[in-house]
């Protein structure tokens, strides 16, 4: 048991290094990342936004069933992936496609789930990105297990486990944090508090002073960060990853951000929030903020910006082309992966489908 719980408390206000007007200042505990890092981050943010908006458009064109966009949350998405090493693991939710792409997953493969071709379209081991988790918070205990196994073998792996503000109410959030703390598992729990769980506002999820304060109950240090401030996210998440890697156990980071669009394109957000609220958050947009900062300091030229936009366009084209390709799913796949080798019953059922298909072909 820890003697002084105060060391676990998050800062009173979310850590911020670049304010909405683009002005920067070091905080007492975190320094603004160097210029090259910030410039590179802007490029990633522009691509991230383009990916979100392209995926959203592909829903309207009928290429994706649905898309839970992280429009407005791109700084969280980019930072979560960028602070990890290649051998670290990322556990994304349905909203964290952009983070998965940031860790190396092909965006076309990342969206296979929503295209309807197969559930998880990528190899989780290739980039160490777990399948998108849909049942809320259920991926968090897995993250603890991956981290614990790595630690048992003396590997330096850190696991970034993501969830939303609503997800923190689930039992598995509690169980995962508690297990991670007891076993000192190197997990960074990264909560994107975007104010809503579909229609339900944060006040209905928790009466805690902040979601980061929840860490204290488990003996986990919590930290709050401005989730639309790329510089602060890189600093705070980077430090959390470093502490976890150094053997200091799990970390809990809450990013204050906002879901600028509806929960998914199938949701009507006007039923539970007004335009003025959204407009206020648009003024805190993570991309304009970093852009203003870099332009004001003469670090961002039109030429570099054009290069970033072109790269974003290239990724969007790749996504469009990939998702416009019609793959005919193979009905054999229905039975192929349930077990390492199909049971006799599944073999019978596969034969039934094959027979149906051959009779269809005969007509």
């Amino acid at each position: 048991m820890t003697s002084d719980p105060r060391r676990l408390l998050p800062s009173a206000d979310p850590v911020s290094l670049i304010d909405p007007q683009g002005r920067s200042a070091d905080s007492p505990s975190y320094a603004v990342p160097d210029d090259a890092t910030l410039l590179r981050a802007l490029g990633s943010l522009i691509t991230a936004r383009r990916l979100n908006d392209q995926a959203y458009a592909l829903v309207r064109q009928g290429r994706l069933a649905v898309y839970p966009s992280s429009h407005g949350q791109e700084a969280c998405q980019v930072a979560a992936a960028q602070v990890l090493a290649a051998d670290d693991w990322l556990f994304p939710t349905y909203r964290d496609t952009v983070a998965a792409v940031g860790k190396g997953v092909d965006p076309v493969e990342a969206l296979s789930l929503l295209k309807g071709d197969w559930h998880c379209g990528y190899d989780p081991y290739e980039h160490r990105v777990a399948p998108h988790a849909t049942p809320l918070a259920t991926q968090l205990p897995h993250a603890v297990g991956v981290a614990h196994a790595a630690r048992m073998r003396g590997e330096p792996t850190v696991v970034m486990a993501m969830c939303g503000d609503g997800g923190t109410s689930e039992g598995d959030f509690h169980e995962a944090l508690n297990f991670a703390a007891v076993f000192r598992a190197p997990v960074v729990f990264f909560v994107q508090n975007n104010e809503y769980a579909i229609s339900v506002p944060l006040a209905r999820q928790s009466a805690a002073p902040s979601l980061a304060h929840k860490g204290i109950g488990y003996g986990i240090a919590g930290e709050r960060v401005d989730g639309n401030d790329m510089a602060a996210l890189l600093a705070v998440l980077g430090a959390a990853v470093a502490r976890a890697r150094a053997g200091e156990g799990p970390q809990l980071i809450e990013a204050h951000t906002y879901r600028m669009q509806a929960h998914t394109n199938a949701d009507d957000a006007t039923r539970y929030r007004d335009d003025a609220e959204v407009a206020a958050w648009v003024r805190r947009d993570p991309i304009t903020r970093l852009e203003t900062h870099l332009r004001d300091r003469g670090l961002l030229t039109d030429e570099v910006h054009a290069r970033f936009t072109a790269e974003a366009e290239r990724v969007a084209t790749h996504l469009r082309d990939g998702l416009n390709q019609d793959v005919t799913p193979d009905p054999d796949d229905l039975f192929a992966y349930v077990y390492a080798s199909p049971t006799p019953q599944l073999r019978e059922q596969a034969a039934l489908v094959a027979d149906e298909l051959s009779r269809e072909g005969a007509h």
């Binding site: 259920t138 897995h142 508690n178 796949d333 049971t343 019953q345």
Partner: protein
Amino acid sequence: MTVLASPVPKTEVRTLSMAQALNQALRDAMAADPAVVLFGEDVGALGGVFRITDGLTAEFGEARCFDTPLAESGIVGMAVGMAMNGMRPVVEMQFDAFAYPAFEQIVSHVAKMRNRTRGRVALPMVIRVPYAGGIGGVEHHCDSSEAYYAHTPGLHVVAPATPADAYALLREAISAPDPVVFLEPKKLYWSKQEVQLPVREPGIGTAVVRREGTDATLIAYGPSVPVALEAAEIAAREGRSLQVVDLRSIVPFDDETVCAAVRSTGRAVVVAEAAGFASVSSEIVARVTERCFTALAAPIRRVTGFDIPYPPPKLEHFQLPGVDRVLDAVDDLQWEQ
């Protein structure tokens, strides 16, 4: 699936209870493969409330056999992550009804991970569940929960009825490439048998004929197998020859052995402790009827638990399928006079 070659060097005959056989299987599996890790509630110093993990922390160290916080979803969820990352976790649910907090992990992740990832992420893990009644346990300690797991594609579901099978099936479950829900009939933990180590038994997915017979077939698994055998013994004294099939594995289900047995007698009774409605026993009747209808001389009968919450200890004998009910059901199989 194939039967494991046990690492026990020379053959040796020992009298083992089912609890000791399970303990030996865990010990041998841990010795054979450093990726095997055990965890759960009270499995460390105490050795589990049924002592199935007795001595394993002392022998293999705290890292290989350890207590967790009290949270079943966390236990199974952590096992998923460890299995994803190169380990072979074997977790203990303290009692059948206390596995329910882990149900979402089992159904949404344990069972589906391989399929969701097109076979890229396998989950070689075992969820051990001391299960079923007959030990005078109070509520929440006696559930026959097999149907929940058997109904979930992606899980293997196994229930041994003998110490030898307990050893063999657990060794195989631990080395299997897929998750196995391993149902341990509590009331048989103390049943004893001479066991030849290393144990060689048919693999998961194979039923066996425990007793030959020609007049009717009793189909049972787990805690009901000894009941069926006892009924067959009594019936034999009364001049009726009953065959007894022990399923051993509920998923995969051995249609071949079960149907061959029923065809050989033309009559069958299914014996199971679980409530009968929408159960493994109903599935067996349906499967056998679909496949063996013309060979049947009478409708298949079932002797199961009633469709009630498991009763308190002083009433549990009404719930358990006993020898008398089995013999009554056999009598009802439309014998020609």
